[in-house]
């Protein structure tokens, strides 16, 4: 495990995982508050046709091109979700499910087309979809650093606006903000974070990086600012511990370990969170019971006294 501090390759992976954790944690906070936690899962699946089309158009297996394709497909997917929820009575969860399955279905059709035609082997595409944190190079980390910085800066600059549309979109509209534009912008930021994350941890697990730190953070605070910072911290912690453990053992992949670390943090928060946690709730309930019992005893005592006095007076 010591080689973590000496092996430059591992340091790059560690840095990449931490940066990824921070950016998905911060963005995930807003997704969670807007009840769009599963948007990560949706966008990760929706990226598939984009990746396939990028490959079919260029016939080059390049991660950069795949990412551009994935981001474009993800952005189209977010527009689709917004349209379905805005122009019909279908709710957000169903809209996300429709976009997820139809885009992924289209992606599979394209994938079989690639397999059956002369484009050759699609193994590179698979690797991109299932994620390989261990093969992260310094170049990938540069991309992640710049993406993380852009995401965090945009969130910091638009913090007030995002806060407003997360809690009270109606009021935001009343104040004259273009809620639709802001919502779309937020979704695009999520898309970018998801696409960068896919490369590291794979399609399914990137959803966890968006949800789990944010839900955990919610247990510790009622303030959005604190929650965002905490969520970023939890994300970074999960990434770091995941990388650390996977560096110690030969055959354990980083992505699932990071996700399980995040889950452990979540379980800890559910149990020990102040006020909202299970233990805090139990303690509060028992102390309330005790207070109530004490109050009852006092009242009963007072009643006995009063009735005794009454009797004494009447007698």
């Amino acid at each position: 495990m010591l080689n973590l501090f000496t092996d430059p390759n591992l340091q790059w992976i560690l840095l990449g995982s931490i940066l990824l954790g921070i950016s998905t944690g911060v963005i995930g906070t807003f997704a969670y508050l807007r009840k769009q936690s599963l948007i990560g899962d949706t966008l990760a699946h929706a990226a598939l046709p984009g990746i396939c089309i990028a490959f079919m158009l260029t016939e080059v297996k390049s991660v950069g091109l795949f990412m551009i394709g994935a981001i474009v497909a993800g952005m189209i997917a977010t527009v689709g979700i917004s349209w379905i929820t805005r122009f019909s009575r279908i709710k957000q969860d169903a809209a996300m499910g429709i976009v997820l399955s139809v885009f992924f279905g289209l992606g599979i059709v394209l994938l079989t087309q690639i397999q059956h035609s002369s484009y050759g082997n699609q193994s590179g595409l698979d690797k991109f979809l299932f994620g390989q944190a261990a093969s992260m190079t310094s170049k990938d980390v540069y991309t992640m650093t710049s993406v993380a910085i852009v995401l965090i800066v945009v969130c910091a600059l638009l913090f007030k606006e995002f806060k407003l549309i997360s809690f009270d979109p109606g009021y935001a509209r009343g104040l004259g903000f273009s809620v639709a534009t802001l919502e779309q912008l937020l979704l695009w930021l999520v898309t970018i974070a998801v696409v960068v994350g896919i490369q590291a941890v794979g399609v399914v697990l990137v959803a966890a990086l968006l949800i789990t730190p944010a839900v955990s953070a919610r247990y510790w605070t009622d303030r959005l600012g604190v929650m965002t910072v905490l969520s970023g911290l939890f994300g970074a912690l999960s990434g770091a511990i995941g990388t650390w453990v996977s560096a110690g053992t030969a055959q354990l992949p980083t992505g699932p370990l990071s996700v399980l670390t995040a889950t452990a943090v979540f379980v800890g928060s559910v149990l020990f969170g102040p006020r909202r946690g299970v233990i805090a709730k139990l303690l509060r309930r028992s102390s309330a019971k005790r207070e109530w019992a004490a109050e009852n005893a006092k009242q009963a005592g007072a009643r006995v006294n009063a009735s005794a006095k009454e009797r004494g007076v009447s007698a």
Partner: protein
């Protein structure tokens, strides 16, 4: 003959999913199917490690147990105050991560083709047939899905009123003495059953797609639950039959084409539904503004 079996399997999946999906959409838990189809991975791997065989019975058993566990955990976190979408997300990603870890820990023993387990191929349906006493009774998947469909139809018709009330107004249902939690678990158990019995033969994506897209399309066409279920069934069956022919014409993935056809039908309903369609509503708006101006 192979085409017939594939279409029949697709139609059975569409029927199972179409009925249950209506209730999921009304309860705003559309993505539960997606969650279950991913979270069963550790169940499959454990079943494989324990039994040492790739017999689909053990895999189904493991998957079913983890499927019910998923449903239970989601409900537990939801009751302790986690938003429903977040609770679904946390549970299925953790279980999936555990599954991936199990696979990589036992990489030398596990000779599981993950793609095939998770993204089963409907085109192979007819080669895995059920034979009892030397008599070929048709594909296993058809029998399994047929039984599942029978259970779903039986339970839903028996308790139709209860399920309906729980979907629209759980508070009222609880007030008049219907065990809402029990019906919730029964519904989720059925979803889990449908997902598990379909995904091995047809692939997770087809289950998830048919669980959401046809019911959502039906939801845009009617305001009555009974009609919605019927329409959802019809749309699902049309998607699987048409999807098969499209796939045959394009030489592409059958499951993918079925979902794509369902998607096209959804877009058509979204635009041109007589009651809730985008175009119709815009026209109506224009007429009413014109009338106001007049």
């Amino acid at each position: 003959m192979s085409g017939f079996w594939i279409m029949l399997t697709g139609a059975l999946v569409a029927a199972c999913c179409g009925i249950l999906g209506c209730f999921l959409i009304l309860r705003r838990m559309a993505l539960v199917g997606d969650a279950i189809s991913h979270s069963v991975l550790p169940g499959i791997v454990i079943a494989f490690l324990v039994s040492g065989s790739r017999d689909s019975f053990f895999m189904l058993f493991g998957a079913a147990i983890i499927g019910f566990l998923t449903v239970f955990l989601i409900q537990m976190f939801q009751q302790s105050g986690v938003q429903s979408d977040a609770s679904i997300g946390v549970v299925f990603t953790s279980l999936f991560a555990a599954g991936v870890l199990l696979v990589s820990l036992n990489a030398q023993h596990v000779d599981l083709d993950l793609d095939c387990v998770l993204y089963g191929e409907i085109a192979y349906v007819q080669w895995n047939s059920l034979t009892i006493g030397g008599v070929d009774l048709g594909p296993k998947a058809v029998w399994l899905l047929g039984i599942t469909l029978f259970i779903i139809v039986a339970l839903i018709t028996l308790f139709y009123k209860q399920f309906k009330l729980c979907a629209f107004d759980p508070a009222l249902a609880a007030a008049i003495g219907i065990p809402v939690a029990l019906f919730h678990y029964v519904l989720m158990g059925l979803v889990s059953m449908a997902t598990v019995s379909s995904f091995e033969s047809v692939g997770a994506i087809l289950v998830v797609g048919l669980l959401i897209v046809p019911p959502a399309t039906a939801y845009l066409l009617t305001d009555r639950l009974g009609t919605m279920i019927g329409l959802s069934l019809v749309i699902g069956v049309i998607s699987s039959v048409a999807g098969y022919y499209v796939a045959a014409a394009l030489d592409a993935s059958i499951a993918g084409c079925m979902v794509c056809v369902a998607g096209v039908l959804f877009v058509l309903a979204f635009l041109f539904s007589p009651s809730h369609g985008f175009v119709v509503r815009k026209l109506r708006q224009r007429v009413s503004t014109a009338r106001e101006a007049y």
